[in-house]
């Protein structure tokens, strides 16, 4: 029997100078322009909001545990709205790009920093301002419109709609500027030899995401501004009583919010590509197809927003076109899944914690993707729209997909960020709890939807009671899984083993520098002479005995 500690050939030590100890004090963080420190600040922020959103979700499930009211009906409506707003705008959109992306984009590229370091810090402060506005909104009058702010309800409710949508408006700018920064960085700061097709797939994913952020987010900003103007000044844009059109709001809203789904999932695809490559000890199968499929998703994703509105009263012709285009976005996604699976073929597969997350992602995301087919198909959508089936579908994509990829990526890059290892046994226990908890909670909701349970319901008919109780119990297991992961991360910071430069045998550039990295990332500018997953030119794996 061997344990993690005695297979280490020699105990690695912390580098003398790294980004965490180069300068000290509050100001050295608050005024930093180091993308790594900004990435860490984003990481702490998004994880905090993930915790807040998660606790709100547990309260939502608590209300639904049994028929009958535990909270007031309005309180319940505010809870699910806050859960949606926090998870969407404060957690999942910035999650991977702003934290892991900020930290690893320049490192994987071989650059010293992003193209505009000060703009990067400015983006972070815009995020902070938006977050504070959202918190203030929750305290003064939590919104009860659902995170979609549909008119005309959002024009009539007495809750704090204006400040909440302005928070989302402000957060949008953080997203736009980060996207802009990433695009310029990838175009301009590639070191010698780093051609487009030598970039790690995480960078392709971040690039595609950034393009969507830059092009789609302004539309959301304008829409929310119009909504605020209508509430404040009675301008008749969406309210039919003033000559407006409430469905226009849905078109505007989904023109952003559908591409936003790809802002959330495409970076997760990037993380999974890295994990699958490293832990299969292999090049990603069909690298170019995986890289270009991210771009294809980003483009097609702009033309499918109407599939959220098949029963909104839009014309049958529009329904037909949107349904047809929606099916085409499934193809590049399927291509990615097939390529990842093929990467495992004749690999040398290491079932380490991040790889376990990648496999859970693949299993769950495939369910999320396939259950999208009945929603893209017009006839079945009509019945399933706005039921628990939809809730289950998007949680399989967002939670079972993005959040699992995020945690997997966090475990993967944790040693690089902190310079410390974590306890893999504890991490795996957490992973199993999350897997069981997640599927118990959300697979049940597909069945609820099939049985006829509408979404956003404070209470339900008795025939749904059994499945709802089952789903709520699942949410506790899921919560416990995340708690285990949180404790594990904290323990690692306190007394984790010192991490070597390349603990997993990764081949991309971030593994060639020390853990934690030097303040300037690389002592010498890297030159690149091979593809990202070429194992012959890869940095040596350190800290582990030959298997």
């Amino acid at each position: 029997m061997s344990t993690a500690s005695d297979i280490a050939t020699q105990a690695p030590s912390m580098p003398k100078e790294h980004y965490l100890n180069a300068t000290r004090g509050f100001k050295s963080w608050a005024l930093t322009v180091d993308h790594k420190r900004i990435g860490v600040m984003y990481l702490v922020s998004v994880l905090t909001f993930f915790l807040v959103g998660g606790l709100l979700a547990l309260l939502v499930r608590l209300e639904l545990l049994a028929p009958g009211g535990m909270f007031e009906q309005k309180t319940y409506n505010q809870l699910f709205t806050m859960h949606g707003v926090v998870m969407t705008f404060l957690f999942i959109i910035p999650s991977i790009p702003a934290s892991l992306g900020n930290f690893f984009l320049p490192l994987q590229l071989g650059a010293k920093d992003v193209a505009f370091p000060k703009l990067n810090l400015f983006s972070f402060y815009i995020y902070v301002v938006g977050a504070i506005m959202a918190i203030v909104a929750m305290i003064v009058g939590a919104v009860d419109t659902g995170w979609t702010f549909y008119t005309p309800y959002s024009l009539t409710t007495d809750t704090a709609v204006v400040i909440t949508v302005m928070a989302a408006f402000v957060l949008g700018f953080s997203s736009i500027l980060t996207g802009l920064n990433f695009i310029v960085t990838i175009h301009k700061l590639r070191p010698p030899g780093m051609t487009w097709f030598r970039m790690p797939l995480f960078l392709w994913a971040l690039y595609s995401t950034s393009v969507i952020q830059l092009l789609a987010t302004p539309v959301l900003g304008i829409t929310l501004l119009l909504l605020a103007a209508e509430r404040l000044f009675g301008v008749g844009i969406f309210d039919p009583a003033l000559g407006g059109d409430p469905v226009l709001f849905q078109h505007f809203f989904w023109f952003y919010s559908h591409p936003a789904v790809y802002i959330m999932i495409v970076p997760a695809f990037g993380v999974i590509s890295e994990l699958v490559a490293t832990f299969s000890r292999r090049e990603v199968f069909g690298y170019k197809f995986v890289a270009l499929s991210s771009v294809a998703i980003a483009i097609i994703g702009f033309f499918v927003w109407g599939h959220h509105m098949f029963v909104s009263g839009q014309s049958e012709f529009a329904g037909m076109v949107f349904s047809f285009l929606t099916f085409f976005v499934a193809i590049p996604t399927a291509v990615k899944i097939f390529n990842w699976t093929a990467t495992l073929y004749k690999g040398d597969i290491q079932l380490r914690t991040p790889m376990i997350f990648a496999m859970m992602f693949l299993i769950q995301f495939t369910i999320g993707g396939l259950t999208g087919l009945p929603l893209a198909s017009l006839a079945t959508n009509v019945s399933l729209h706005d039921t628990y089936y939809v809730v289950a579908h998007f949680h399989y994509v967002m939670m079972g997909g993005v959040a699992f990829a995020f945690v997997g990526g966090l475990y993967y890059w944790w040693p690089k960020i902190t310079g410390r290892m974590f306890d893999e046994k504890v991490a795996n226990i957490g992973a199993v709890l999350m897997f069981i908890g997640f599927n118990t909670t959300f697979f049940t909701q597909f069945l609820l939807g099939f049985k006829g349970m509408p979404r956003r319901y404070f209470d339900y008919d008795p025939e749904f009671a059994g499945l709802h109780a089952f789903s709520s119990v699942g949410s506790w297991i899921l919560g416990l899984g995340f708690l285990v992961a949180l404790i594990n991360f904290v323990q690692s910071l306190r007394k984790g083993e010192i991490a070597p430069a390349n603990p997993w045998g990764g081949t991309t550039l971030e593994w060639t520098t020390s853990s934690p990295p030097h303040p300037h990332n690389f002592v010498d500018t890297p030159t690149v002479s091979a593809g990202p997953y070429d194992r012959e030119h890869a940095p040596a794996e350190t800290g582990r005995a030959a298997a």
Partner: protein, 288 residues
């Protein structure tokens, strides 16, 4: 639908099976080296899913066209969605109901719908059809019941506090029973004592969605003990709750808003006969 289900299950089992098999077969220490790419394979797994999804699209679109176009002999029922109840009117018979839609079996029914406030959505799960109900626009949805029984309908567009309670039943009855029901309901009820009539209307018009009769405030103020007492209004004035005040509050609910409550009640102008109005007032008077 079964086609999509089987296809989905097939692909999920295939992917999950391969992932688990490869992870086990090539676990830690495998020395074989797999190919890095294969263009023929890429084309295959792009083209086959494309053909499959187009076949799903064609089926979905064809079925959708039948779902969205009612047959010519459909019976029209007018529907108004309001926070938080559904009103139905049978145009040829002058019959009105709330949260209850009675239809004959084997007869296509087309609902002609509009909203008097925010967006609602009419979902008939048993009949696999749904349509949003909008203010300032008319939308339609149709269904044909093939067996007698009671089937739920729900509001599926979030519309505020009691969205969850904006539901009711489709009662499918035989053609004869339907005609009897129409006969019975198209006559004005002149025999039931007023308080009893009011109590029935309190249920059938779904007043209970927002008003309790046991003294606890809900979305609207409780009706227990309101008659004969002084009511504090939102604008700081007070009013004596007499018959005229109750009548005004039913017909023009926005005229006097009780302190601490939002002006969300829809008007019942034109939906109640004089006798029914008196019945409701008598019923409220009896709630001491």
């Amino acid at each position: 639908m079964n086609y999509i289900n089987y296809l989905s299950i097939f692909f999920w089992v295939l992917i999950t099976g391969l992932i688990l098999y490869f992870a086990w077969r090539y676990r830690n220490g495998n020395k074989e080296v797999g190919p890095s790419h294969n263009t023929a394979l890429e084309i295959t797994w792009t083209v086959i899913p494309t053909i499959l999804v187009i076949s799903i699209f064609v089926w979905g679109f064809k079925t959708y066209m039948t779902l969205s176009r009612a047959p010519g002999d459909a019976m029209d029922v007018y529907v108004t969605g309001q926070k938080w109840s559904w009103s139905f009117e049978y145009p040829e018979h002058g019959v009105r109901t709330t949260n209850e839609l009675v239809v004959p079996v084997n007869q296509p029914v087309r609902l002609v719908m509009q909203s008097s406030d925010v967006i609602h959505s009419m979902w008939l799960p048993a009949f696999r059809n749904k349509m949003d109900v909008l203010p300032g626009r008319t939308t339609t949805v149709w269904f044909e019941a093939t067996e007698e029984g009671t089937f739920r309908f729900y509001c599926t567009e979030y519309c505020g506090d009691a969205h969850w309670n904006m539901k009711g039943d489709v009662k499918v009855v035989s053609a004869e029973a339907f005609h009897e029901w129409i006969e019975e309901n198209s006559k004005e009820d002149t025999t039931t004592p007023l308080p009893e009539l009011g109590a029935k209307l309190f249920q059938s018009k779904a007043c209970f969605t927002c008003h309790t009769t046991d003294g606890t405030p809900s979305i609207g103020p409780t009706l227990k003990g309101v008659f004969g007492h002084t009511v504090e209004l939102a604008d700081g004035k007070t009013v004596e709750a007499d018959e005229d005040y109750l009548r005004e509050s039913i017909l023009q609910p926005g005229a006097k808003i009780v302190k601490g409550f939002a002006p969300t009640m829809p008007s019942f102008q034109g939906q109640l006969s004089e006798r029914e109005l008196n019945g409701l007032i008598e019923y409220i008077k009896s709630l001491k």
